[in-house]
């Protein structure tokens, strides 16, 4: 079975390149905005923007917090998210390993690397969803305006009160997504081209 053979043996040239590029793409995400949430409303035609980077959240954080406090949402701050403490080391580790593995050239390691990448990706998406759920559900009951609990969109658009909320990956998130696709493609390539 060719597929099983892809689990062991030496990586070929193309597989190495694919995995190395995937590692680079993960590393790049350390430096650039990863995710962004845009809020549009009649009185904010230019939009309010939240930009998630590896170590902090930027954009119109104060303005969004001022609006959110009316419905009892917790203030958004770097300190509220432990992820900002470990996201950069995690990206560096995953990206670094994916760069290192092609040098060693073993498929066993390559597969471990892919597993790490896929689980990291999956975990981060779940983690973001978890926070969005938490922020939209744990509302202060004493808030001036009562809204039914909600989950802001993980990916895509949702209308929340007067705000049209759009959540999309930024360059960094896109870069990690592309890295994941390349990781998958390298596995498919390995399965097709193993002896």
């Amino acid at each position: 079975m060719k597929g099983i053979a892809a689990l062991t043996g030496k990586m070929d040239r193309r597989e190495r390149i694919l995995l190395a590029v995937s590692g680079l793409l993960v590393l790049v995400a350390c430096l650039i905005p990863i995710w962004q949430i845009n809020l549009l409303s009649p009185q904010y035609p230019e939009g309010l923007h939240l930009v998630i980077r590896a170590q902090h959240i930027t954009g119109n954080v104060q303005s969004v917090n001022i609006l959110n406090h009316y419905i009892g949402m917790k203030p958004i701050s770097d300190a509220a998210f432990p992820e900002f403490g470990w996201m950069r080391p995690a990206l560096l580790t995953v990206g670094g390993l994916l760069l290192l593995i092609p040098l060693l050239g073993r498929r066993e390691l390559a597969n471990l690397g892919r597993l790490l990448l896929f689980s990291f990706d999956g975990y981060m998406m779940w983690d973001l969803y978890r926070w969005l759920y938490d922020w939209g559900h744990n509302l202060d009951r004493r808030a001036p305006i009562t809204v039914p609990p909600f989950t802001p969109p993980l990916l895509g658009v949702r209308q929340i009160a007067n705000f049209h909320v759009l959540s999309i990956p930024s360059w960094g998130g896109s870069s990690v997504m592309l890295a994941t696709l390349l990781g998958g493609y390298s596995l498919w390539h390995a399965m097709r081209h193993s002896s």
């Binding site: 119109n60 104060q62 303005s63 001022i66 609006l67 009316y70 001036p144 305006i145």
Partner: protein, 606 residues
């Protein structure tokens, strides 16, 4: 055959004429289309019009004529708390009004640079400087020593100086008593040179030039060919001091006063002055070469210099002409000492030598502006019209009625070396029937006139606030208005950068409240003080979201301020009477604006 050929020709001509008319109509937009700025779109120009004895400056959009803002300068303004907070109170120095006359945008190389707008207060001899990024008054200086009735001032082409003159001569230093009937002997006028710091815009008195007690009226800076000179009209060479409407109208000629301000600055440097009232006053009778008199018919009012700086155009209020003096001719006459004697120690340059035209414009000419095509436009107060005439040929070409009694007029870039021949704004004194009635105090009126064609065309009437004396029109893209104050960079007295820093501190009977205003609360919002305390509120709007201003009004105290995002304002209040004083946000800010309130309790003295 002959007849039908003729008919054929006729038909052709008619068709051609119809086509021509049609094409003409298609080319010219209707007046409504010219001035209509559709909802959400912006005007192309800012017009800054002075508000006369309202003491303020008003900002309009052109061509729509929409009033965009009122900039408080010399009078308190409750809407923003101007004159209520400590900083602006200090700047106003106890005055509660001014007569704001002739706004001037700062210039670089003879072009509006859009940094500052300067404006004078006539009765208190003050000059103010408005920052054209924040649209806030940043500086008021004066009363300037020895200047009495600061009706006119000009900016030099690189904003080196503001030259300000006395319209009402008085014994110097001001505060000196002299019997009024000793006017000719004991009264003096001055032209004061305020040096302007090129970085900060700060004004400081450099020198003054003494003049005879004539009434210096309007002024214009030399530019281009005449850079380094300044020109002031005058009336009352009769030296009349009572029944002046008759007394000051007797002479057939008064003077345009030509001032070599660079020579004067040099003389001041060389110490050729005496100190009077704290000012270095140069006496031109003792230091020749600084001022010259150009005889000009009948109480000239406006004086304007052509964009190339070659001609000085003075409007003779009491004669139906504008007089054009050639700068080159003036310089030649000065070189050749082609004088008609001197008056009070100042050479009077021979009229025939400098005058190149007396343009018969009509009755009551007051002010002139120029376009970029060699045409001049003069307001006729008595004729209620604006007249268009040509430089060089000195021919009158067109006249358009305006309603009524125009004073100043302004074109885009009116004071610069490159005016734009697009619009002309006539600022009329009398409104009469032009708007719905609003009681016996009528608004004033501005009229926008299209000057792109051979014939002038009236486009729009709009009401003006106060009484505009002159205006400045500048392309909108030359200004970069501030959107909010950067709180992180603020070092205003008492500023707090977050709610954690807000609080109350006491020092003896002085209580300092560092207060945050943010949607939709104040912090602190419950304050207790003792009767007799002096309470200082530093209110910081910690928002960094544009357009979210908060107010702070303390009931029953006559205190109210508006604080823009990132701004801090300070008010001081003496807690004389015990009781509970509510305070609230006086500027609608948010859905919970009503709840943005608090209490200040004053405990009675034991």
């Amino acid at each position: 055959m002959a007849i039908s050929a003729k008919r054929w020709l006729m038909a052709l001509l008619v068709a051609a004429a119809a086509l021509g008319t049609g094409a003409g109509c298609a080319r010219q937009k209707s007046a409504a289309d010219e001035v209509y700025v559709k909802p959400g779109d912006h005007d192309k120009y800012y017009a800054f019009l002075s508000g006369g004895h309202s003491g303020q400056v008003y900002v309009y959009g052109i061509p729509s004529g929409r009033l965009l803002n009122e900039i408080p300068v010399f009078s308190p303004y409750a809407r923003t708390g101007y004159g209520f907070d400590e900083e602006t109170k200090k700047m106003m120095a106890g005055y509660t009004w001014g007569d704001a006359h002739h706004p001037a945008i700062s210039e670089t190389n003879g072009q509006y640079d859009g940094r500052w707008l300067f404006i004078n207060d006539m009765p208190h001899a003050r000059l103010a400087r408005i920052n054209l990024s924040s649209f806030l008054t940043e500086e008021i200086t004066g009363p300037i020593p020895n200047v009495s009735g600061l009706h006119t001032f000009l900016l030099t082409p690189n904003t080196e100086y503001a030259l300000a003159a006395s319209r009402f001569s008085a014994p110097m230093p001001l505060g000196t008593y002299q019997p009024i009937d000793s006017y000719a002997k004991t009264f003096d006028g001055v032209i004061a040179a305020m040096k302007i710091d090129p970085k900060s815009g700060h004004m400081s008195l450099d020198y003054e030039i003494k003049t005879p007690p004539i009434d210096l009226d309007i002024s214009a800076a030399g530019k281009g060919a005449s850079e380094g000179w300044a020109f002031f009209t005058s009336y009352n060479t009769e030296l009349s001091y009572t029944d002046m409407e008759v007394g000051a109208s007797q002479h057939d000629q008064d003077f345009v006063v030509a001032v070599n301000w660079k020579a004067a600055a040099q003389a001041a440097l060389e110490g050729k002055y005496t100190m009077v009232g704290g000012a270095k006053v140069i006496d031109p009778a003792k230091t020749p070469g600084i001022i010259y008199f150009l005889p000009t018919p009948k109480s000239p009012h406006g004086v304007d210099v052509t964009p190339d700086g070659k001609y000085i155009v003075a409007s003779s209020k009491l004669s139906p002409t504008v007089t054009v003096h050639s700068f080159d001719n003036m310089m030649n006459a000065i070189r050749k000492k082609d004088f008609d004697g001197s008056w009070r120690g100042t050479p009077v340059v021979r009229y025939k030598s400098t005058m190149v035209a007396e343009v018969p414009v009509g009755l009551g000419p007051l002010h002139t502006q120029f376009d970029d095509k060699g045409y001049a436009y003069t307001t006729l107060f008595v004729d209620s019209a604006v007249v268009k005439w040509q430089l060089g040929s000195w021919k009158v070409l067109d006249k358009i009625p305006v309603t009524y009694n125009p004073g100043h007029l302004a074109v885009v870039g009116g004071d610069t070396t490159k005016p734009e021949g697009k619009y002309l704004l006539a600022m009329n004194k009398i409104t009469k029937d032009r708007f719905l009635g609003v009681g016996p105090d009528f608004p004033t009126i501005a009229q926008l006139v299209d000057i792109t064609g051979q014939k002038m065309r009236l486009l729009l009437d709009f009401p003006t606030m106060g009484e505009p004396h002159y205006g400045q029109i500048i392309a909108a893209d030359k200004l970069k208005p501030l959107r909010l104050f950067d709180l992180a960079k603020s070092s205003a007295p008492g500023v707090v950068h977050s709610e954690q820093e807000a609080g109350i501190t006491r020092n003896g009977n002085k209580v300092e409240v560092k207060m945050v205003a943010i949607r939709s609360h104040f912090k602190p919002d419950n304050i207790e003080v003792n009767q007799g305390d002096e309470v200082t509120f530093h209110v910081t709007n910690t928002e960094q979201d544009e357009n979210i201003a908060h107010g702070f009004a303390l009931d029953f105290t006559n205190l109210d301020i508006e604080v823009a995002p990132g701004e801090t304002k300070t008010v001081v209040w003496k807690a004389d009477k015990p009781g509970v004083y509510p305070f609230y946000c006086s500027n609608f800010c948010s859905a919970l604006h009503q709840e943005m309130q608090g209490y200040l309790a004053v405990r009675p003295r034991k």
